[in-house]
């Protein structure tokens, strides 16, 4: 086959947003997209990161207790 697509079902985001996710060390497959057809935007990534560090922070506090 000379036409290929990478994977059947995967997170939807523009190439730049996918690159950003890699740079932010986010597994883009775990992010919920807010755009049409579930498209992930830059702000979805930021949101995800915030929630993520928030929950890690909380987990850490929990451990400390």
């Amino acid at each position: 086959h000379i036409t290929t697509k990478h994977q059947a079902v995967r997170a939807l985001a523009t190439p730049f947003v996918r690159q950003m996710a890699r740079e932010m060390k986010i597994d883009i497959e775990k992010v919920k997209g807010s755009g049409p057809a579930g498209r992930i935007t830059e702000s979805d990534l930021k949101q995800f990161k915030e929630n993520d560090s928030f929950s890690r922070e909380k987990a850490k506090q929990h451990d400390d207790k």
Partner: protein
């Protein structure tokens, strides 16, 4: 032969200067690496010298020749149209030279060292480069292998002066009066089509049920077949080429079709049955790089081989053997070496055939979507209902959009028609951006342009096309 005693040091060593190698080298240099490219043949690799570029030049010249003779219905008459094939070849050569010269300047301009010779791995940090009268060792921190591929030779069709591979066919000095093409893949179809435009009697022998069967739909191949037939070509499918007898003036090719043995005579036979990766004679075994069972080099998402400072890109790794895939991987490898997070991360690679009409495809087609278990919708709109296509007097073709049923997400597109090669860009972008049929339908497309066909196909997907009755 003098063996250089002192190895030359470099950061990134690239083997091969095709669209994989030279792009990797430039990107690596842009990212601050000291780069050396080793090339045993000509700068630009297969693509620029004996592939993409010269084939498209011949196709364009053939197109001009054909069109000059066939514009009567538009009121344009040409009395006697002739080809001076040596001039065609000279022009083709000038195009190639401009591009390869350009690549050389780009490499120089980016301070990339270009070394002529054949590279052979010594160990994971050094290679030896051999040319006619010397050998020199180079040490490197990282290497990128981009040695490309070569035409497969089948035992019953050893290459000679009249049994040609694509390189030989591209170099012919006159328009052959007849040619047999073995293999109706995109290379055979393109070159066969170019010669048919010049008036050569072309016979294509294809082993499977259909030409262009890898990646293109039957409906698309059918348009190309009809066009080829109008130019006098004969296309024999399910044909098994058996052997060739060669005389001073031509060849007789024997083939079998439906259990019957047949013969066809021609000036030349062109064999285009596939290309094999150039991975056999570069000393990969010295470094223990893992291979797939098909002779390809195994790589990860960053184009890294099993040896962590050695990368491989282009025709020698898995995926379609296409120049733009090689270049894309070249950038990834160079960026990965620079420590960037770049990864092979495309949703779709376009594929184009410069036949008449042109064919272009990106992402899923109907069948592939079904096989992948996606509930998909195929929406088609013909060139014949488009004002621009009519005003170009070129209405043969269609745009077919493949969308996901649940939300209209564009997951693929197939285009057959004039300038399909230009039109596919929009759809590649749409797929990468995760756009829906609505997005395309609501984007204003200029009138009268071929892009309106794409817009209308999107409207067909939504059930509200303007220029077609549902």
């Amino acid at each position: 032969m003098v063996v250089g005693d002192f190895p030359i040091e470099t950061d990134t060593l690239v083997i091969g200067s095709g669209p994989g190698g030279y792009v990797a080298a430039i990107r690596a240099a842009q990212l601050g690496q000291k780069v050396t490219v080793v090339e045993k043949g000509t700068i630009g690799g297969v693509c620029l010298n004996v592939g993409c570029i010269p084939s498209k030049a011949l196709i364009s010249a053939g197109h001009r020749f054909h069109e000059a003779q066939h514009s009567e219905d538009m009121g344009i008459f040409a009395e006697k149209v002739t080809v001076d094939f040596s001039k065609v070849q000279a022009w083709k050569g000038s195009v190639v030279k401009k591009l390869t010269g350009g690549v050389s300047s780009l490499l120089k301009g980016n301070n990339v060292d270009v070394v002529t010779g054949e590279a052979y791995f010594v160990d994971e940090n050094s290679i030896r480069v051999m040319n006619d009268d010397s050998a020199q060792t180079y040490t490197f921190k990282n290497a990128i292998i981009a040695t490309g591929s070569s035409p497969i030779e089948i035992p019953s069709f050893k290459y000679t002066k009249r049994v040609l591979n694509s390189t030989g066919a591209l170099a012919l000095e006159e328009v052959p009066s007849s040619i047999v093409v073995i293999g109706g893949g995109y290379i055979g179809t393109e070159l066969g089509g170019a010669f048919a435009s010049f008036g050569t009697k072309v016979t294509i022998l294809e082993g499977t049920e259909e030409i262009l069967s890898a990646g293109f739909e039957k409906q698309m191949a059918a348009l190309v077949k009809r066009n080829l037939k109008n130019k006098g070509a004969e296309i024999v499918t399910k044909a098994n080429a058996k052997g060739v007898e060669e005389t001073d003036t031509g060849v007789t090719v024997t083939y079998e079709v439906k259990g019957e043995e047949k013969k066809v005579e021609a000036d030349y036979v062109l064999v285009t049955v596939g290309r094999r990766p150039n991975t056999a004679e570069i000393g990969l075994e010295q470094v223990g790089i893992k291979m797939t069972d098909r002779g390809l080099i195994e790589t990860d998402k960053q184009c890294r081989t099993s040896v962590k400072n050695i990368y491989a890109i282009g025709d020698i790794v898995s995926g379609p053997q296409l120049a733009h895939k090689a270049s894309y991987e070249g950038k990834i490898a160079a960026e990965a070496i620079a420590g960037h997070s770049s990864e092979i991360d495309y949703l779709a690679i376009p594929a184009v055939v410069f036949s008449e009409p042109e064919l272009a495809s990106v992402g899923y087609n109907e069948k592939e979507a079904k096989e992948a278990g996606i509930e998909a919708l195929a929406s088609k709109f013909p060139f014949a209902a488009n004002g621009r296509a009519l005003s170009l007097n070129n209405t043969d073709g269609f745009v077919k959009l493949i969308t996901r049923k649940e939300d209209g997400l564009v997951i693929g597109a197939q285009i057959a028609g004039p300038n399909a090669s230009d039109m596919i860009a929009e759809l590649g972008l749409a797929i990468e951006a995760g756009m829906t049929a609505e997005d395309i339908a609501m984007t204003i497309h200029a009138h009268p342009t071929l892009g309106e066909i794409t817009m209308e196909a999107a409207e067909v997907a939504l059930g509200t096309p303007i220029h077609i009755i549902k």
